[in-house]
Symmetry: D3
Subunit: 237 residues, 6 copies
């Protein structure tokens, strides 16, 4: 049995609260259980320098954790003077995931930056970030549409993410911190609303996994992401 008492295929309580940041063009406070991430979208009127004149825009993401979002206080990255490898991995993942469902030509020469800041961490911060970031991005694009800054086809699909893992030999969905610490394998799936796979990151923390386990994890993730996309649809409706 999982420490969280959840059945293997059950997500934590997930909420997506929009409009939580007074200044941002879009925002979403996403909660996957005790993991809370504040996602804000910031629009800039020009794309990064390497896209100037291309007619295309850009969507990027930054990620951070508040120092005491975790069980032990982490050093503040602004004070240490650099972002860890983990931070950079995650923010690159979020950016790639969002760009997979954005038409950068229809966006035009603009840049949207999604900041995902973890207020409280209990496992799965990157998957919560992707899922909430999509809502913030959606609202930013809606903000632009209402000002006739873009046409209707900027966002092509939903995108959401969930973690799965092998926990004591069983594939389980959406691991919290206690489960993640003990899992033999930890995998993150990013998928679109129409079921396409955007990103898989699977790592055997303990013993290697096999194809059957991969398939079982993929099935769990697909179902989880169907639920998350449903919640995104509810949130923006």
């Amino acid at each position: 049995m999982r420490p969280s008492k959840r059945a293997p295929d059950v997500l934590r309580a997930v909420t997506l609260e929009r409009g939580v940041a007074k200044h941002a063009e879009g925002s979403c406070l996403v909660k996957f259980g005790d993991t809370h991430v504040l996602c804000t979208a910031s629009l800039e009127d020009k794309p990064p320098s390497w896209l100037r004149g291309s007619g295309k825009g850009w969507v990027t993401a930054e990620y951070g954790m508040l120092p005491r979002s975790t069980g032990d206080r982490m050093r503040r990255e602004a004070a240490t003077g650099k972002q860890s490898g983990r931070t950079q991995e995650i923010q690159r993942l979020i950016g790639r995931s969002l760009r997979a469902v954005v038409d950068l030509v229809h966006l035009g020469e603009k840049q949207i930056t999604i900041d995902c800041d973890v207020l409280q961490a209990d496992g799965g911060t990157r998957t919560a970030s992707v899922t909430g970031a999509w809502v913030a991005l959606h609202d930013c694009v809606a903000w632009m549409k209402s000002r006739d800054m873009v046409g209707p086809k900027v966002i092509r699909d939903h995108v959401a993410a969930v973690s799965v893992g092998m926990y004591r030999g069983t594939p389980v969905l959406d691991l919290d911190y206690a489960e993640d610490s003990e899992a033999e394998t930890d995998a993150n799936f990013v998928m679109t609303g129409s079921g396409g796979i955007v990103e898989i990151q699977g790592t055997a923390e303990g013993k290697p996994f096999n194809e059957a386990e991969l398939t079982a994890m993929l099935t769990l993730a697909k179902n989880g992401i169907v639920d998350l996309v449903e919640l995104q649809k509810l949130a923006i409706s």
Copy 2:
């Protein structure tokens, strides 16, 4: 008349919500109107190296702003690789203010770090931070007391802070961003529950101010801090 429509001597709506961070030994989400700061207290079992063996502990603070807490997105300090001069000034101020009411000998060889992270900014983030940090510190010390780690006399008094300014020739209390941007003078006062002044920082942004104006601002600040201390007392009761 102030942009905020408040009378010159009226604070914004101030709330102090405790216990908002699952992992921290003490925490407080402080709101001064639309300025929201998450304050967490983290206890370490040893003091900084320069106090080892002294029998004394230390209280320090770190400060940060989420990139889109502000009207225009600011660059993330973790990405730029250093904390700005303003950030350092503020976190030094918060630390000094708290230490003014803590008995470091009674604390013993431990360190408490208060992280003040601005989720949303609308002027007065440093004064909100000091005011909320005291509550987080109080709860951390209470947590220690309940485990017999310290005696009763660690915190000697309340400490709170408020800004005042000269706005179109009138001294006003607790400036929001719109008022602060236009004020001729901006001053921050940190005071104890018993009315002692811990810190004054006053800067003429436009024309210099005189002694009468300083006195008027001090009077406003004193009254504002009386109210803030009252709110702290309510919050911890």
Copy 3:
């Protein structure tokens, strides 16, 4: 047809040349076609500080590219003052992959650092690095055994890596730079000699992929890794 004229399931010419670094305890110059990576193993007599006293050792990796290993000269990371997110991602991957087949308790309180420096790049530098790093690690452990510093069971299995991708709708193995630039999906698989999966990193650069494509890519990768492990066995025999 692939730009490289290879059949979809054919690796580039792979060579693993041992003993190429006079000073290192183990070394391997690995070539996957025009991708050349120099892997050296360096033994330190103590583990990282967080493992002191644990009885366990550590294996870690660092990765770098010579500035003109690529088509356009890249800025030297030592001169820019930091390692890119990509560099950190790759060196973390190499380290995790190696640790998946090392018994850190049998290694004892030591640290082995594998440096993977790309002399020339033509796609697949991370997979070549993992594959060559294992040889350098093997020789370092052999060096230790010959001095009675460790017992026989430090390395539990082979580990190797290969990239696969969807290129114009077809799953292909071991992409070179020209292929990688155009592939719709790029995936890296790290697997052990006994066929266990250690790591999957799959990213849709263009349109999302589906489960059938994932399975096809996995099959290609499994076969490729069988060949790479065979080459490792030849190299160390």
Copy 4:
């Protein structure tokens, strides 16, 4: 009695020596007793980028201490790779203080940088810096006038600074290091030649201070600054 034997309201011996730097457009070696600061003014033909096209110029300051200006050698900030929070606080203060008496529109699109480098420190380096920086700035503007680069109204007033403190219960003026180390309260006042207050920074190092003490310190500071402005007038005459 003060360690310095001075009466409570007596400044240290203050000298302002102009023209001490062969290359600078203005310079002043200021001494407040054993505190010696070399202030140089450097003119640049364009303002910072954010003022280009505005018709306005800028005055800024940088501050540094020679490593052995102090009793114990400090680490060289150029070697540690960053300026401390204290350094940044002080240089921001100097810049603000000077800008309070400069008409940036009359200066035109230029930038003057005042470097304040402490050759020897014995307390009060920031107040000596402000006082000497004004002289260097004055001479730089005079240099510009003599070349018809600016009109007569660039500098509107004098500005000078002095520290005051509560030392064993008595308010005292212009603390040296020995006095500062023991003072209960340390405050710095920056004022103009016409008596306006530009900046107050007061900190209770020990017990909080009250309004009467603040008033007493302000009175001392006002008188001290009258004397410092008199010395500035003598120096430039």
Copy 5:
């Protein structure tokens, strides 16, 4: 007798292998015995910003050592975040040496960067670097000539470098690491094909040296450089 068994005036086996880097406009793997340096030349179509519009080009160099090129592993400079003083000294020397024989006006508004990366170190990495860098530079300029990008007179002469030292009282040529560690004096000479001296760096590691010793070292160096230039001529023929 020297640890290397060489007569005092004998170079190590020196080889200059061209065309070793697929992407670079010129490249040379230079070996002075066990010291191996990979030199690549990278052409950029514009000079550094301070030469724009001057009609002149620039030649510069960067230097690095692979972490395990040495007996003990060195920390990777990209990971430490800065280049050591020694690295900077050497890359400045290489750049100056090359510019001494290049006509920057005939080069025109372009920049050539020579990267010298030490794959294996056994003393004399800077002299091997200068000697190999010239070959890479030559081939880069030949590449430009074959595309009619420059005329014939860009490179005016050869340049090569060698170390000499006082080893147990005897002047010796081209010290390897074992000899260098014990030498009383270590000197590096950079000279042109026509015998002009471009750079001398001589340092007494133990007791100071005198004019006679300097003269003896210079004579050795001249002869050594004649041989190195001969090898360069062979290499490019």
Copy 6:
């Protein structure tokens, strides 16, 4: 004729003023004409960590230039966040030069740091630094002797430095900035009181130099250093 009107073999006016820094264990303000360098010696009670337990001490140097010591203001190295290659080259040279005349065993497990800060620059800052640094070091050791912290044989000899150059075909001594900018060759010699050569750094800025020119420059330097050592002797007597 030289811009300075000096005969080729004549030094600028050189002064060595001792005891200029209140806090330092030894200090010297050295002037070579308009080049002014403040040298301070700071004693630490323990050597650098890599010498602990060896019985030996260390002498090291740091170098810096005030931002407006030069004709155009240079960026402050503390603000840019790193020391330039030139700064590091010079401070390494000063340290080596001093250590050449110090008996580190007789010094014992201590460290002396000589800070050389250029207050005003007009060419030859490194040679002035070495010459003045020796005086500061001497006074620091005298300070130690007077407290019975060391015996008599710590400093074995004088050390001083001077620049020479080929200016319009003539070898000249002690170049100022105007001469240095135009010289074909610039060389720095560091020599001991007994005439031994500690360091030569010669660079052809324009055309290469030959052996005869090197000899002529060495002769000039020797004579110049005899004079500088004489001035050191006078200064400390």
